[in-house]
């Protein structure tokens, strides 16, 4: 009887070995990035500026992955659909010939209903393929890309007549390969920026990202956030305790899709140019790889992991072609190497997840 009354304490002493083991992935990438930076021999200001630019450009997309991970749906490869919603909205805004902040606002207004609809469809599909959300997301992103291409290549022009030579192919059917987003270029980044020599800091963009982080933090402390976490741990127990599991899962995907769409707008306003048939394709893969590099897993992710991952993954992106050239005499090898890293990191993370899952 007495032995029961002792309160068990779960000790969380700082254990260096354990810390190293738990953070093995980010540590490994810090090392790879350092080697890459060394061999790339880029001037520091240039490198720092590049990193800042890419952090501003990509963080939002990476953070959009967090909610589905917490809700137990794994890595949401379906954020590609969010990117598509953003691109449709941007194309429309270019057609309307809007400028600056007005263009940005209209883009967001147009994008929202599409993102919600795509997210809802994705979520509903995930509910039909429960337990296989990730492979469904991967295939869905390919499928959606097919439909997107069909719309952009053929429906626009042939079914919906559009006459705008800046957007349409000379034949009048299908969109151009690249569409100039001049009216929106840097609309956020250059709204207010700080400049130190070569280094430019897009303050407003970072403020938007900060706002997102704060909002995300707040969300996870609400009733809805608690429901995400409960559903993520056990759909069965959450269901028995009265949480509407299917609805919660759909909300998680809708939010993720909306954030991804917003992220893609930030991404493209920085680039200033829309590669109609390419800009969205790798969004899912790269965002997923980034968050994993930051130390997240299929079932656990935090905002710092997302940010750290974005930093490391994109540093690697900047330095690997040059490092490849200087080390191996071929920039192409560096290019392939970074693609390999992106795919490899995802593959290993998924394998580890499956391996751990088997122990249960």
């Amino acid at each position: 009887m007495s032995d029961m009354k002792e309160t068990p304490t779960i000790k969380e002493d700082f254990d260096l070995q354990k810390q190293l083991k738990n953070n093995a992935v980010p540590i490994m990438f810090v090392i790879i990035c350092s080697i890459g930076c060394y061999y790339a021999r880029l001037p520091w200001p240039f490198l720092i500026n590049e990193i800042i630019t890419r952090m501003a450009r990509n963080s939002f997309l990476v953070i959009s992955l967090i909610i589905p991970i917490i809700a137990g749906m794994g890595l949401n490869f379906g954020i590609v659909l969010g990117a598509m919603a953003a691109q449709f909205a941007l194309i429309a805004v270019v057609l309307f010939e809007l400028q600056g902040v007005a263009a940005l606002l209209v883009t967001i207004i147009l994008m929202l209903p599409m993102a919600i609809f795509f997210g809802w469809m994705t979520g509903a599909l995930f509910n039909m393929t429960r337990g296989k959300e990730m492979i469904t997301g991967i295939i869905l992103s390919f499928f959606a890309n097919g439909v997107y291409q069909l719309i952009c290549l053929w429906v626009l022009g042939a079914i919906i007549p559009i006459k705008n030579p800046a957007v349409m192919l000379p034949s009048g059917v299908g969109l151009r390969n690249t569409i100039n987003l001049k009216p929106l270029h840097y609309v956020l980044d250059r709204m207010f920026e700080l400049q130190y020599g070569m280094i430019r800091i897009p303050v407003v963009t970072f403020l938007v990202i900060l706002l997102l982080c704060v909002g995300m933090h707040f969300l996870l402390k609400t009733k809805l956030g608690q429901d995400f976490r409960a559903v993520g741990q056990s759909q069965h127990i959450a269901g028995v305790s009265g949480i509407n599991v299917d609805k919660t899962r759909i909300i998680a995907i809708v939010l993720s899709t909306i954030l991804a769409a917003m992220g893609q707008v930030i991404f493209l306003q920085n680039l200033g140019i829309l590669t109609t048939y390419g800009s969205h394709v790798q969004v899912g893969t790269f965002a997923v790889a980034a968050i994993l590099v930051g130390g997240a897993s299929v079932s656990k992710a935090t905002i710092p992991q997302a940010l750290l991952g974005t930093l490391l993954f994109h540093t690697l992106f900047i330095v690997s072609p040059l490092a490849g050239k200087n080390l191996l005499g071929s920039p192409q090898v560096g290019e392939f190497f970074r693609v390999f890293i992106a795919y490899g990191v995802i593959g290993v993370a998924l394998a580890l997840h499956a391996w751990k899952g088997r122990g249960k």
Binding site: F142, H353, W355
Partner: protein, 357 residues
């Protein structure tokens, strides 16, 4: 036995319609529609037919490579690029050694089969630790292999002038012509034409031979053991079968078939495609077999043949029809939509036998 009832004709018909499935009926209908359109548009029907036959043989073996992993319960082999890569290595070796004609072809096959099998075996060892996640991991594993091999192609110390860049530098070209090597060696073997339709006899015979061997294999004691493992792993264990060993076998055969498949594909196509080319081949193969009526863990030879035929026929006929009607090259887009659409459909269906789990 007196109690055993007779199966009614109605039931048989129902079963037949059920086994064909709604997606196949839709695709057959769509195909018929395209065919009528082609007739109206006065397209060269004979060449369409020749084209379909060639592409059936060309892609068939890659689709056949899905059967062993699906039957043994590992799901469609999204790691197919691994086997494909092995086939490409074998094919480039044949050129590097300056082999020509049948020698080159047989040499390539001879190297490809053990190499692909070995790779498949290693891949199977990995997947045995990841039961239930084979598809997700396989997809990205396949992607990784393709990009890793891209580094290999870019650095491989090959010397043959047919393969390296004409202006020097290291690495292989993106596409390597097989002209003068074994270009269309099977396609032209005993080939003849009836009414303008060219029959690639050798190619079809080879495909048929592979299908037949697989069919026989699935009926041997070992083949049945694989099916049992795929149907119900716990049942398999209860009758003394080694689940992991059978899964390894499935993955090995699939790897070897992937390697053979790409050699057959390339001899028909006339080119070896390196670097990123194998990236999406698995998806088209998976799409094909699912269109043929397979489910994630159940695939038969007839699913391979019907699926490859339907998928390729759809592409071959839709391309010129679409070209005439919408004057755009949409074949790639259609390929993506169909193959991934059918995979999504298969994923969203409740697995048969799911209640056994």
């Amino acid at each position: 036995m007196a109690e055993c009832e007779k199966i009614t004709v109605q039931e048989r018909l129902k079963d037949a319609a059920k086994s064909l499935g709604i997606p196949r009926l839709i695709i057959f209908g769509f195909l018929a529609l395209l065919f009528v359109a082609a007739l109206f548009l006065k397209l060269d029907i004979a060449s369409l037919f020749s084209n379909v036959l060639t592409r059936l043989g060309m892609n068939g073996i890659l689709v056949l490579a899905m059967v062993p992993t699906m039957q043994v319960g590992m799901g469609p082999n999204f790691g197919l690029p691994l086997g494909i890569t092995c086939g490409l290595v074998a094919a480039t070796l044949a050129i590097e050694l300056n082999l020509v004609g049948w020698t080159a072809f047989v040499f390539a096959l001879g190297v490809a089969i053990p190499l692909g099998g070995l790779a498949g075996y290693a891949y199977g060892l990995l997947l045995n630790k990841l039961k239930g996640e084979e598809m997700t991991v396989g997809t990205y594993f396949g992607f990784s292999i393709v990009s890793l091999m891209s580094i290999f192609w870019a650095m491989a110390p090959y010397k043959s002038p047919e393969m390296i860049w004409p202006y020097g530098g290291s690495g292989l070209r993106v596409t390597i012509s097989l002209a003068g090597r074994y270009d269309k060696i099977l396609d032209k073997f005993m080939s003849f034409s009836i009414g303008g339709i060219v029959i690639p006899t050798g190619l079809l015979l080879f495909f048929a031979l592979c299908c037949f061997l697989m069919w026989v294999f699935m009926r041997t004691r070992t083949g049945i053991a694989m099916t049992v493992v795929g149907n119900n792993a716990r049942f398999a264990e209860s009758i003394g079968l080694n689940v992991n060993k059978n899964r390894l076998l499935g993955s090995t055969i699939s790897g070897a078939l992937g390697a053979v498949g790409i050699i057959i594909y390339s001899q028909s196509y006339g080119f070896l495609q390196l670097y990123q080319a194998p990236l999406f081949m698995a998806f088209f193969a998976v799409g094909s077999i699912l269109i043929g009526g397979a489910s994630i863990n159940h695939a038969l030879i007839r699913h391979v043949v019907i699926g490859t035929f339907l998928f390729q026929a759809l592409l071959v006929t839709s391309l010129p029809v679409a070209n005439l009607l919408v004057s755009e090259n949409l074949s790639e887009v259609i390929r993506i939509i169909i193959s991934n659409g059918i995979i999504l459909y298969a994923l969203s269906r409740k697995e048969q036998g799911g209640e056994a789990k």
